[in-house]
Symmetry: C2
Subunit: 130 residues, 2 copies
DNA sequence: TGACAATATCTGTCTTGTCAACTACTGCTA
DNA sequence: TAGCAGTAGTTGACAAGACAGATATTGTCA
């Protein structure tokens, strides 16, 4: 728990400083960036998110207000909403993620030996989506 | 991050269900329980926790409102506040921590081999207070 | 086809934690 | 011993997440 909170806090501060966005934004933008056409349903976004399973509506509100994504109607299902990353969002994401990877490397990965890195990954992997 | 959020959420729900207190309460009560006379300064309480000063003030407010601890003046330093665990708090803590250990065992420890357990502990230990 | 359960998302409201500013007190130093 | 920097803890304003319930739409089945 200490490791988690310390690393998280550290990289989040870094991210805000150099890219001006919180980690939750990067998470959302990353999911969209990796999706075909940079587009996902709200529901898919919720399922894949590392954070916020409950507050996705409002998180998307905030990212949208920052101009990094936009909502669109889903053709054929008037309940549904698509979320699409904007060119602005793509640009921000690409720049931010490079720096963020370096932050994680510095705050976390570089402090583990390769053997430790692998051991931790293997041990914790099983918790992924289950 | 997935492992952390999943395990944390799981054991917190368990704790609330069987003991009616959030994990943060257990953390504070544990530190007091382990301290000589069941007593610590606000500052000591804060130092090893993941909270800011103001966060701790409010957490202690809530635990105090639940009757599990009380504030006392520090003799010789009128700025200071001691926090003391109450008999009620001790009782709750002892009962809750036993079950909590079982929860953690079930949700986390039991899913790792002994070798993995040790490897993770060794790899993450260095983040403790540094 | 009409009733009703299920799905997709949003909104209201409460809780919790952060930040910055504030009060009160202590102890150094000139 | 007066001034002042440092320490201890609290408070107000605010941001974000949790939870429950609302709203609109779709699909199923008698």
């Amino acid at each position: 728990m200490f490791a988690h909170s310390q690393v998280l806090h550290s990289v989040e501060q870094d991210l805000k400083r150099h890219s001006g966005i919180p980690l939750a934004f990067l998470d959302v933008l990353g999911r969209l960036y990796d999706a075909p056409d940079g587009r996902l349903r709200m529901q898919e976004l919720q399922q894949r998110s590392l954070f916020t399973h409950s507050g996705m509506t409002r998180l998307v509100d905030r990212v949208e207000a920052a101009g990094l994504l936009r909502r669109e109607q889903v053709p054929g299902d008037r309940r549904g909403v698509s979320v699409v990353i904007t060119p602005e969002g793509t640009k921000h994401y690409k720049e931010a993620i490079v720096r963020h990877r370096a932050d994680v490397e510095r705050a976390f990965a570089s402090r583990l030996t390769p053997a430790q890195h692998e051991a931790v990954a293997k041990a914790l992997w099983q918790f992924w989506h289950e």
